[in-house]
Amino acid sequence: MAYEMNFQPVLSRAPELIEGTIATIELSAKSIVVGLAVGLVVALGRHDGPRAVRTLATVYIEMFRNTPLLVQLFLLFFGLPFLGLRLSADEAAVIAISLNLGAYSAEIFRAGLAAISKTQVEAALALGLSKLQAMRHVVLIPALKVIYPALTGQLTLTVLGTSIASAISASELTLAGARIESSTFRSLETFLVLAAIYIAITIAFRILYALVGRLLFRRKVPPPSMRAASAFDKKEARA
């Protein structure tokens, strides 16, 4: 009993799919911007802050890294109204995903900060830079370079993780798919299409990370093999 694939009912709902895709990209972008900002500030606080700040940062990181994103989402969306704070599903989604990414990226940023030798900061201070200027101009870029692969990997997890927001009916792609599936009963086709769209989204984001990386780490040093070759050429030319 071969199943006959029919994508027509799913594809005819393209406007909803496109809307969901845009919503997912929007949710991802907002969460990445806010989450990375939170992560960087928390990492700096944990790396170099006074004791109280370090403790606070640690508590935040441990809380968000040791609970499921879904529970964090439910707490914000269903829990906070009991304290008098009512968030829309979209707001709750951005805040929960940002805070989740903030905790994970803080640990990644911290690894980067720890990888940069203290003497680099001393050299900057000795030139008259403030601690903050030393961070910004001397530590940040080399530290980012060390952790960039780990960081972009985390961002991909975050982008895919936005699908969990469908559980509180925040507007995003998985919710759009679920609606299409429940009215067409084409489960296989619907989720194959969703998977394909998610792949396209993560690839687009990865291209963006690569471009940002090229902008941040604009070193134009030829790879080792080429350098060896050019040194060899020089020797040849001299001989």
């Binding site: 003497t119 050299a123 201070l125 000795a126 030139l127 830079l129």
Partner: protein, 244 residues
């Protein structure tokens, strides 16, 4: 001659361990002071106290119009007037030679971009590396990196320069080019304090040599006398194997 640096009763502890046990030192403008002594004698620690990289518990340091050890000080202003070159060069790996040099003038002094080239050319020509302007640090030899570090320090036009064992990480064949750059700087009348293991160089270039031992200035005086006619057994024991 006016006093460029005056250290009085400097004491420094790492925990319970007393590293500097009351150091006194006076450096006149234009002096080139070599600080010699065994590892652990407190030479580098003293140097790091001078520009506030290392806090100390007792004593006073007067340098370039600032007094350290009498309440809070604007260390940032002091540091723009006191240059420091480190053993491990500490060039910033993500910046070109020119960007390494202009970072502090740009960020701290707000030097307009139009004057960057002129500044880079001026300080790089003093260390003979004009052609390396656009290179990255890891494309340079250790000796070249250290000369760039000297140029980077000079770009802030310091009144005093501190050198912390700047040739210790270099191969012997690269040491010469760095020492030559320092010697040329000495000839321009720059006030300098050099912590060094290069006895020949200290004797030849330094106007005065300070021998530190057990956290104190054990013996000091004109370099010729320190090396030619050491007064204490400790200094004799220290320089004899070094001069052979």
């Amino acid at each position: 001659m006016s006093t460029a640096l005056h250290i009085e009763g400097l004491k420094k502890y790492f925990g319970a361990h007393e590293v500097l046990k009351g150091v006194d030192l006076e450096v006149a403008s234009g002096d080139v002071i070599a600080v010699i002594g065994r590892s652990g004698s407190g030479k580098s620690t003293m140097l790091r106290c001078i520009n506030g990289l290392e806090p100390f518990q007792q004593g006073r340091i007067r340098i370039a119009g600032h007094v350290l050890g009498e309440g809070p000080q604007n260390l940032r202003v002091l540091r723009t007037e006191v240059g420091m070159v480190f053993q491990s060069y500490n060039l910033f790996p993500h910046l070109t030679v020119a960007e390494n040099i202009t970072l502090a003038p740009r960020v701290v002094r707000k030097l307009p971009r139009a004057r960057h080239d002129e500044l880079v050319d001026k300080v790089l020509s003093r260390v003979g590396l004009l052609d390396k302007k656009h290179a990255y640090p890891d494309e340079l030899s250790g000796g070249q990196q250290q000369r760039v570090a000297i140029a980077r320090s000079l770009a802030m036009e310091p009144r005093v320069m501190l050198f912390d064992e700047v040739t210790s990480a270099l191969d012997p064949e690269l040491t010469g080019e760095v020492l030559k750059a320092i010697q040329e700087l000495a000839e321009t009348g720059m006030t300098m304090v050099l912590v060094t293991h290069e006895m020949g160089f200290a004797r030849q270039v330094a106007t005065k040599t300070v021998f530190m031992h057990h956290g104190r200035v054990w013996e000091s005086g004109p370099s010729e006398e320190i090396f030619g006619n050491p007064q204490t057994d400790e200094l004799r024991a220290f320089i004899e194997p070094n001069l052979k």
